[in-house]
Amino acid sequence: MKKLVHLREKCLECAGCVGICPKMALDMYGLDLQINHENCSKCGLCVKACPAGALKISENENA
């Protein structure tokens, strides 16, 4: 199962991913990125938009 993963150690807390997500599946408080996995369509737009490479779509639930 594909899943959006947030890499906290790379994150710059800019919250750009929240604004770009077409599904409103993301929100951010400090370094806490809340991902609503049910709404996330794994389109990968936030992955491309993230300036720091702090988001990725993982193939594996546990990755």
């Binding site: 604004g19 770009i20 997500c21 491309k48 938009a49 300036p51 490479g53």
Partner: protein, 389 residues
């Protein structure tokens, strides 16, 4: 926190703080919400802005918020072209860790009630002329009623989207950027320096902005969101820094995403307006948005004030705010958007021509005569721009 306010402003960046202050000054009760623990942290910006004089219209702004005075722009274009544009006092470099809190303090001094670490998690529909804002704080969740909501919640704006304005970022009209704080001054301390049109940075630009007061440089980049996954913009910018200034000592990095679509078509609803990045009020050429947000904040407060006094906060009435913004900077942002698209969609050869013409017209060492001695080139560029849709 009270149960009810005349206005709730979401986001204590420059747009929100100015709107809150201007409403409080008119005697209205104003709640200003900031979801972060501290106003202004972390900075998500290259920090270049308009002139000190312009900023003082929203002040008083203490000197310590200003890092350097800027007297020109230098652009390294494609194929060794350049634009060396000298203009005294064209703008300033800000220290936004000081500037943003200063604006929020001014709002508080004039009567706004500021809460940090308080985020608006939901906005209701209008009921009996009021909206309910759900606010999450460290101590729990509260519902606050208000006659009007000002969504100044930045590029990630959810207020507009929760209320029904399609204010999300459009992939092809959004930039992502990073800003690396480097020790010392890397480029001309009086100039903003840019690199544009170089192969893989064609879709945006690299910048080097001097902060003289703190003896650091903001070295950063902003590009349109790439259509394919690749190296992150941070990696690209670090490579570029290494190439240009191999000994640069990095002190820190911030990131940000910038709407470069031009103003949204509509950004008011009954009892709700958007201000600043939330309404895409950023300059689509430069990505700058501080001054636009503050201007919009003031226009919003003026129209909302009239609306509160006449008990009319319908979207038809609040459209007056959109008209004020369009007249102030909306139309000029449309021109900037056209110029950006024109420049980025050109092939390299035409881009080089454009740089020659721009430097002849604007450059300090550019010779206006060049426009006449190369009449075909000049005409070609001007006519291509006029035809460009």
């Amino acid at each position: 926190m009270r149960k009810e306010y005349d206005a709730v402003v979401v986001g204590a960046g420059p747009g929100g703080s100015v709107a809150a202050r201007e409403l409080a000054k008119q005697g209205f009760s104003v709640l200003l919400l900031e979801k972060r623990e501290r106003v202004g942290y972390p900075v998500r910006c290259g920090e270049a802005s308009t002139t000190f004089e312009d900023l003082q219209n929203f002040g008083p702004i203490p000197e310590e918020c200003i890092e350097s005075n800027i007297n020109g722009l230098f652009v390294y274009g494609p194929d060794n072209t350049k634009i060396d544009y000298y203009k005294k006092n064209v703008g300033v470099m800000l220290n936004r860790e000081k500037f943003d809190p200063c604006l929020a303090e001014l709002a508080v001094k004039d009567g706004a009630e500021l809460h940090t670490f308080a985020r608006a998690s939901a906005v209701s529909a209008v009921e009996n002329g009021k909206r309910t804002v759900t606010i999450v704080t460290a101590s729990g969740t509260e519902n606050v009623k208000t006659k009007v909501v000002v969504g100044a919640d930045g590029v990630e704006s959810l207020i507009g989207r929760m209320a029904g304005i399609p204010s999300g970022q459009k992939p092809k009209l959004t930039c992502c950027g990073v800003d690396i704080k480097v020790e010392g001054i890397l480029t001309n301390p009086e100039y903003l320096t840019f690199w544009q049109g170089h192969d893989w940075i064609n879709d945006g630009y690299i910048w080097s902005f001097p902060k003289v007061r703190s003896n650091t440089t903001n070295f950063g980049a902003g590009f349109l969101i790439p259509s394919k996954e690749g190296p992150s913009i941070l990696e690209v910018t670090l490579d570029w820094l290494q190439k240009l200034f191999p000994n640069a000592k990095i002190l820190g990095t911030v990131g940000g995403v910038i709407p470069v679509s031009g103003n949204l078509e509509n950004y008011v609803l009954d009892s709700l307006v958007l201000v600043g990045d939330a309404a895409h009020h950023t300059n689509p050429l430069t990505g700058g948005g501080i001054s636009a947000a503050m201007r919009a904040g003031r226009h919003a407060a003026q129209v909302i004030g009239e609306g509160l006094r006449s008990n009319n906060l319908s979207s038809e009435f609040l459209k007056k705010y959109e008209s004020l913004v369009e007249a102030d900077f909306g139309k000029s942002h449309q021109k900037q958007l056209k110029f950006r698209r024109f420049l980025l969609e050109q092939n390299k050869k035409d881009q080089v021509d454009t740089y020659h013409v721009l430097n002849a017209a604007l450059g300090k060492d550019g010779k206006k005569l060049d426009l006449l001695t190369h009449p075909l080139r000049t005409l070609r560029v001007i006519s291509a721009y006029r035809k460009f849709k």
